[in-house]
Symmetry: C2
Subunit: 389 residues, 2 copies
């Protein structure tokens, strides 16, 4: 490497992968706003507004609603390690890579983990959770709402009741769902939910929204042992986000600016309109892909994620050649498969700002070109049909 | 709170506190650059360049040089928990709030901590470290290079040798020193060093540069237990920053853009010129304050931090009234005292882009106004004298 560094000028990209996703120009501009100090009264007001807006997207009245200073993975780890103490039992539902991650994170922190497994491409059934809870006195049941590795939307109906009847807390990963589909924290009896900023929220990766119910806070405050981490200790983070306003870590000023701006945009659009937009664009994409002869990885249409579509790499096509072609010829990024889907499936994100009709149509035509798919006209017509309906 | 959110338009601030500090316009613009994916070949190149530039500012050839995805506090926690296993002995030098934090973090992670204490406003003596190491077989000795709570620059001369002779690793907090004064990781035998981006580096808060010597990596790889945290596991972070380029967490794209830009600026200025600039402005500030009758909290001029000056609140003045006046009348933020210095000292940062003559002169005159100090002319003349010398 030479001593000369070129001007920062990345090639234009259309981010249609599993995240980060496209950012609205308003949100990008917010990133470049000169800094306030992290205890400046004006900054505290921006934190308060962000908190109120997060309660809106989480659909919760939870007082303890804050941002963990890190990416969605930091949110996962904070949610777990604050929810149990070493040696306690935790039930983790696993139907993809992020469920596996939860197992890893929980074990490192000293949990005794009971797994509830579902096949890739399917969802965990409430009865499986009930069965697991008959065998173990769990402190927490953890489940992924939107499994980014498989494209499955995990139904949460009925799970809260089962978990609460067993005296456990329900912990839900909403990284790929928050802001793109209903999360309904309070209505579903979710005790701990976390997310990331770079998916359906439409901000850069950096912060992890976290919310905890009164029951979760009560359990947290009754801990006999300190949380293993100072950085991810929810009580410490709350000292900064709550009324005390004590120093825990230096706030990520510019990233909070961006998150607040992205949340204001969500508020302006309205959650219902936003959810409908995500769903409509996903349906158009899938209609187009299917008309071109491609097969979604998730067979049951009822549990396909509005924000992330997994589709099998068609026979005879090269996973990597197509993704490279999309990037170099079109500037489009989609995701490769993770885990069991590595080399076998693509992951197409239509998240937040990226969930737009023009992106769907462009991607279908670009895939048609790179796959030399002879039915691309049918694909485009099928997608258009969804918008016309 | 109403439903209407105002346009993001924070009041102008001159950040002369303990961080975040001023950001160059180029760095702010970099924050607003459209995103690449976190595995995009162009992004990987930017990571490589950032890594090379970090080695330059750390003065190291360490292969394992990376960014922990969080603020300086995440860097502290990552540095510690990767350096020892539960039950092992750790010596922590404590002369202020950040040494205390290290004790807390290490204990939470299961270390048996031996403290080496120094009075606030003074540095730890090498002989104290040697004495502690005669009493305990330590895996790690941790010390803060630039104690942001006291304004003390901890001399590191001789400590590396003492630590290595005892078979331990030397771990150094460089949060407030990196980029503003020599850190000299290799020459001083530092095994693990971490920093933050929002102080002398001149980027927004978000990432924590971390570097580990071959000996530290070897000790890490010989661990018998997994690191308690997945998010802060140096091996996992290295899988992303090293040749494997595996997914660990979603890169903080915009914050890496900003960090790279800030490091390019450092490279353009040159480290020696940058260190000299920090020192010159600090000397001018102190000359001015002393000429106005104010007293630096650190009596020994040889161990005053070039980047952060602690000064005692003069008798008869109200800590809070002066800081509020600076903020509201001048838009200037300085820091209040932390810990034992709460209400008793101010913390004035001249870090990175903020370390400028005009800022020194403005702050002296603003303090003169708010303190109704009759010697402000003498203060300004004394500061000017430093620049003229």
């Amino acid at each position: 490497m030479t001593d000369a560094y070129s001007t920062l000028s990345p090639s234009p990209r259309l981010l249609l992968g599993p995240g980060p996703s496209e950012i609205a120009p308003r949100v990008l501009r917010a990133c470049a706003t000169p800094l306030l100090g992290y205890l400046d009264p004006e900054y505290i007001t921006l934190m308060d507004e962000t908190q109120t807006l997060l309660r809106y997207v989480f659909h919760t009245d939870n007082e303890w609603t804050m941002c963990v200073p890190g990416t969605g993975m930091a949110g996962m780890e904070a949610a777990l390690i604050n929810a149990f103490e070493p040696g306690e039992d935790v039930v983790v539902c696993v139907s993809g890579v992020f469920g596996e991650r939860m197992v890893d994170v929980a074990r490192r922190a000293g949990a005794r983990v009971t797994r509830v497994d579902a096949e890739w491409g399917t969802a965990v059934q409430p009865e499986q959770v009930a069965e697991a809870l008959r065998g173990v006195k769990a402190k927490v049941v953890a489940i992924v709402h939107a499994e980014t590795s498989t494209g499955v939307l995990q139904p949460l109906e009925g799970i809260g009741r089962i978990v609460h009847e067993a005296g456990a807390l329900l912990l839900v990963d909403c990284v790929t769902s928050l802001g793109g589909m209903p999360v309904d924290v309070d209505e579903r009896g979710i005790d701990i939910a976390y997310s990331g900023t770079q998916k359906c929220i439409g901000a850069p990766p950096s912060l992890a929204p976290l919310t905890m119910s009164a029951a979760a806070v009560e359990a947290f405050q009754a801990r006999k042992t300190p949380v293993q981490s100072f950085y991810l200790d929810a009580g410490q983070i709350w000292r900064y986000w709550g009324p005390e306003r004590a120093y825990h870590q230096t706030g990520m000023i510019n990233m909070l600016y961006a998150l607040r701006e992205a949340l204001v945009i969500i508020k302006e659009e309205g959650l219902e309109a936003r959810y409908a937009r995500h769903l409509r664009n996903q349906r158009a994409l899938i209609a187009g892909l299917e008309a071109m002869g491609l097969r979604p990885a998730v067979e049951d249409a009822a549990i396909r994620l509005p924000s992330l579509t997994t589709v099998m790499v068609p026979e005879g096509a090269s996973d990597k050649a197509v993704r490279d072609g999309l990037l170099t010829k079109y500037g489009i990024e989609i995701g490769g498969g993770l885990g069991k889907y590595a080399g076998k499936a693509w992951r197409i994100g239509l998240m937040g700002y990226a969930s737009q009709r023009s992106n769907v149509m462009l991607l279908l035509s670009a895939l048609g070109d790179l796959l030399t798919n002879e039915r691309v006209d049918e694909g485009l017509a099928a997608a258009s049909g969804v918008y016309a309906a």
